[in-house]
Amino acid sequence: MQIIDRYAYSSRARVVDPMYKAGLALLVIVLCLVLDRPMVGLLAAAWMWGLATYWGGLPVLLFGRVLLAEAAFLLLTVAGVAVSVSTIPPAIGWSWNLGPLWVGCSPASLETALRLATRALGGTAAMNFLALTTPLVDLIDALRRLKTPALLIDLMTLVYRFLFTLLESLTRIHTAQESRLGYVNLSRGMSSAGVLAGQLFVDACHRSRRLQIALESRGYSGELRVLPAEYRRDRWLPWLGAGIVASLFLARVIA
């Protein structure tokens, strides 16, 4: 999570309006689902990889590595679709006899699996593109412009900000415990982890109280209002989006 966060902040495409990037990612996901051809999914993934790398300035292999990690989950899911298990030998396709069971796959099941996999791959790549070029503060900004209720926006802002602070507290307390042999064996470890969790809660309570005081000192009146950031809205951006959409439709027609 922290790695993705770091790359998102340093992305060259960060200055671009998050609304545009989110819109593009959503459009690609929808097209992957609707057009439903392996070529479309693969092409979408390639587009997203290319954009994140050349437009966003991401290391070439990083996108692939993130995608690979997600592909592992994807393969597990798709395997269940491709392979079927039954007590009678299947009429078509390939099968192996394992005792009373027949494990096999057919051309039809393979095709379904391929479609599913490429569709999901395209969608996942689109989400990765968004996550690796747009930090959460910018996404929250976009949601604010879309008139999301202020309460939700405030919660997201605070949760995201204090995730890192709490993580720091957690590491600090854990180190302090470990340096006094708090995790020397399983039972001590369990008890220390319990204390850690409790302490973290107390820490969060104190922190929220102090935050409230600091916010009130700056004139807080029930809503965390901040100035929206300014983004670049290049004229060629819509054309890029249109080009991607057109190429996906083209892939659907050809394949």
Binding site: D5, Y9, V137, T157, R161, E216, R218, G219, V226, L227
Partner: protein, 244 residues
């Protein structure tokens, strides 16, 4: 010179605490001065600060800002908090947004300023605290000194007349401390009053032009640094002799 900030015989006890935190604290700060408040842990420095911008309300006694007693209705509190800003000890408690620019814009927005003016103020405050290049960096990726300066910028963007600083130099390296003191000097020369709670006697002696000594919820003495440090018994109360 007229006092910009006055506390007169202020008493306060935190709910649920047996002992009062302030027992008749009085302080008068001339406009445009550099004040160091010294005193041991628990002597009431932070509690005193929270009275100055109306976060806490004294059980008895009065707080006056610009000669007028503080009133505690919503509208006057907002005005009070514009005039009196507090930078808290731990910047983590103050920075609520993961974007530094957005965090700094919070105060000016609450003052109801328009977008153009807010943008200008964010820029000016960032320049003053030398964090312009950090404006678009995430808060959680910054060092302690950078966070401190970001928190300071968030308060300066509200353009306060009185700046209260609660012991922020303790966790800074000597160069960063010097940089922060230089920022305060620039503020004072443009008319702001800076009041700093500190345990650093060098700051009290060398930087401040007025020192207030606090002990057990009272201000024992307020005077020029050389006068304060000439009184052995007084200074012994707050710090061992070899630390002066």
């Amino acid at each position: 010179m007229n006092p910009i900030l006055e506390l007169d015989n202020v008493h306060y006890r935190y709910p649920g605490q047996p002992d009062p935190a302030l027992r008749g604290a009085s302080l008068s700060v001339p406009a445009g001065s550099k004040v160091a408040i010294v005193g041991r842990n628990g002597s009431g420095k932070s509690t005193l600060f929270l009275h100055c911008n109306g976060i806490l309300r004294p059980h008895s006694g009065t707080v006056r800002v610009g000669g007028r007693p503080v009133t505690y209705d919503r509208c006057s509190l907002l005005d009070l908090r514009r005039r009196v800003g507090i930078v808290f000890q731990d910047p983590e408690d103050q920075l609520f947004s993961a974007s530094v620019a957005q965090d700094i814009s919070f105060g000016p927005l609450n003052l109801g300023l328009d977008g153009e003016e807010i943008r200008r103020r964010v820029q000016v405050a960032a320049e003053m605290c030398e964090i312009t290049e950090l404006l678009n960096r995430p808060t959680h990726a910054m060092s302690g000194g950078q966070k401190t300066r970001a928190a300071l910028a968030g308060v300066l963007a509200m353009d306060p007349e009185v700046l209260l600083v609660d012991e922020i130099t303790g966790s800074l390296d000597p160069w960063m401390r010097r940089q922060i003191l230089a920022i305060f000097d620039r503020l004072v020369s443009s008319g702001t009053t800076v009041i700093m709670a500190t345990h650093d006697m060098r700051i009290a002696r060398g930087w401040a032009d007025m020192v207030a000594v606090m002990d057990a919820g009272r201000v024992l003495a307020t005077d020029r640094p050389d006068a304060i440090f000439a009184d052995r018994n007084l200074v012994e109360l707050i710090t061992p002799e070899d630390e002066w």
